[in-house]
């Protein structure tokens, strides 16, 4: 118990005093302000579209920066983890009395802090812009969030944690932030597609695993139509218009559990890679 408190205090101190954290989160907040601000502006221009009112605005706010919002968490994790290796503080922390497992535990604390911090910032910034929009346009907020919004927020957190754990594995494999980012973005932009191509060529059960590759799985989770009834109706209508079969989201529960399992596997792999090598 004492150890977890120590790890939490130290990770919080190191992360919050780090200029890189402030810059990364600052950029993320700026991006969110821009996006939410422009939605607000559109809503003022076209009040007939239903506008920028909570809670109906949540799915759009959560979906809008999309996958890139997870990249901020990934970059921050790589920067914070790998600088411990380049400054050799990873080594010194162990010399000072943490076991290697405890040290890794500290990085799990950091992982949780960064994922929750990024999603929290997202909700806070876009939510407060939308709240002021709601007051301005509708004169108040009757309901702040609905159950479906909360579930979608959870899915968003799962996406950030999922891509974050890919970044953790890259960070521990490379132990240097430049190569780790190269590794991460290569996988996210290209590597997984190449892998998917190979798997789908093999056909059968192997080909169906493509849907469970981390990037594909985690980025498809926070889709609004998966969680929000209104968005779902829209998707059904759009599919009908183009003569497509209606979208099927019956796999959502399965994807959530597989996603959680993948996070556990990726973080465990990061630990094994870390433990095997000398500091």
């Amino acid at each position: 118990m004492r150890t977890s408190a120590v790890l939490f205090r130290n990770e919080l101190l190191k992360a919050t005093k780090r200029p890189a954290t402030i810059v990364t989160l600052g950029l993320f907040a700026f991006l969110l302000c821009m996006i939410a601000g422009s939605s607000y502006y559109q809503a003022l221009l076209h009040p007939e579209r239903g506008g920028f009112i909570l809670p109906a605005a949540w799915p759009g706010l959560l979906d809008d920066p999309g996958v890139p919002s997870a990249f901020f968490a990934a970059i921050l994790l790589i920067l914070l983890v790998d600088s411990e290796f380049s400054w050799r503080t990873a080594r010194q922390n162990v010399i000072d009395g943490l076991s290697k497992a405890q040290w890794f535990g500290g990085k799990l604390v950091l992982f949780a802090l960064v994922c929750l911090g990024c999603v929290g910032l997202h909700l806070l910034v876009t939510g407060s812009v939308a709240a002021s929009g709601s007051f301005h346009i509708a004169g108040g907020i009757r309901t702040l969030v609905r159950g479906s919004d909360l579930r979608m927020m959870g899915a968003d957190l799962l996406m950030v944690a999922g891509l974050g754990s890919v970044a953790m594995l890259a960070a521990f494999a490379a132990r240097s932030s430049g190569p780790a980012m190269a590794l991460f973005f290569f996988y996210v932009a290209l590597g997984e597609r190449m892998l998917a191509l190979v798997l789908s060529r093999m056909g059968g059960a192997v080909a169906s695993a493509v849907a469970f590759l981390p990037m594909k799985l985690f980025t498809s989770l926070p889709e609004p139509a998966r969680w929000d009834p209104a968005a779902f109706q829209k998707a059904v209508a759009a599919a009908a218009k183009h003569g497509h079969p209606p979208p099927d989201f019956s796999d959502t529960t399965l994807l959530v559990w597989v996603g959680i399992a993948e996070i556990v596997v990726l973080l465990t792999a990061a630990f094994l890679v870390y433990r095997r090598r000398d500091l």
């Binding site: 190191k14 050799r88 009395g97």
Partner: protein
């Protein structure tokens, strides 16, 4: 009680044997110098003691404990640095020590105390990256003292310091030793070890070639320095002297290594053979001479910073 004990400790990097079957013991209260030239395996050995380099073979005991758990417990009673000081450059000196103190369970007050000891109190709010090398070394020393460890392990604590800085480090180490701590330090500087340490192990190419107390090594035998009108006659008379171990002639000076330290007897013996001296003194062997003898001249560590 043995604070550190190693048996046949070995580390192999590919074809390279960085540490080759090292066995030594450090007892409570000793200031133990681990002396060797660059690349001889000092850092690798200390890294294994501290648990951040996995040994290829061999055993380690700390405070009599071994095994993953036992060594972890022993390491929690140890304060240590390895190679260069390692700190977070963007944090202040005192924030860096806060990180260490949290891990070691040391109090906030002890941070100020150790900063005072290493004379960094007035710079504690400045970021670490603005510190000079000497200040970084002193902060590292301060960090090792947090949590009041029984054993302090320092890898080249005087590395890169000027004579004044080395003197300060020496004084701090002397204070720690006086407070009853066991100290294990590595160095490639003979004079530093000679001045600081009570015991020494000399390491070369991954092997310990001599281990003893500094006094034992430097006063094991007496070397007498002789000059007179006829150096050749002095030398041949010395060869015949029963107590002489070896004789060397260096210009007009003859050096003789004696089994005893009775110079009066030597003088009587020589004058008895009609050899008269203009000069006769005993010379204490320095660690450097022992080192040279053991390792060969090209391996002699630097004498720099001999303040």
């Amino acid at each position: 009680m043995n604070v550190i004990e190693t048996a046949a400790l070995t580390k192999r990097y590919g074809a390279q044997l960085a540490v080759d079957g090292i066995s030594f013991t450090v007892e409570r209260g000793q200031v133990f110098g681990f002396l060797g030239p660059n690349g001889s395996g000092k850092t690798t050995t200390i890294g294994m003691l501290l648990g951040i380099i996995t040994p290829t073979a061999g055993r380690i005991r700390l405070f009599g404990m071994t095994g993953r758990k036992g060594l972890h417990q022993g390491r929690r009673r140890t304060g240590a640095t390895l190679e260069n000081p390692n700190f977070y450059p963007y944090l202040s000196g005192s924030d860096n020590l806060r990180v260490v103190a949290n891990v070691k369970g040391a109090s906030r007050r002890s941070i100020d105390e150790v900063l005072q000891l290493v004379r960094l109190a007035d710079r504690k709010r400045d970021r670490y990256q603005t510190y000079s090398l000497g200040m970084k070394q002193r902060l590292a020393l301060a960090a090792t003292m947090l949590g009041d460890p029984e054993l302090i392990v320092l890898d080249e604590p005087a590395n890169g310091l000027d004579p004044e800085g080395m003197k300060e480090i020496r004084e701090i180490i002397a204070d720690l030793a006086a407070a009853g701590k066991t100290i294990f330090l590595s160095s490639h500087l003979l004079l530093e070890v000679e001045r600081t340490c009570s015991h020494v192990a000399i390491i070369r190419r991954g092997r310990i070639i001599r281990q003893a107390s500094v006094r034992e090594i430097t006063t094991g035998t007496t070397v007498a320095e002789l000059r007179g009108a006829a150096p050749a006659a002095i030398a041949s008379a010395l060869e015949a002297y029963p107590e002489s171990v070896s004789v060397q002639v260096d210009g007009d000076t003859a050096l003789v290594e004696l089994r005893d330290d009775d110079l009066a007897a030597l003088n009587r013996y020589l004058s008895g053979r009609g050899v008269y001296l203009s000069h006769l003194t005993a010379r204490q062997r320095s660690l450097e001479e022992v080192f040279m003898q053991l390792t060969g001249d090209e391996e002699a560590p630097a004498l720099e910073g001999a303040a």
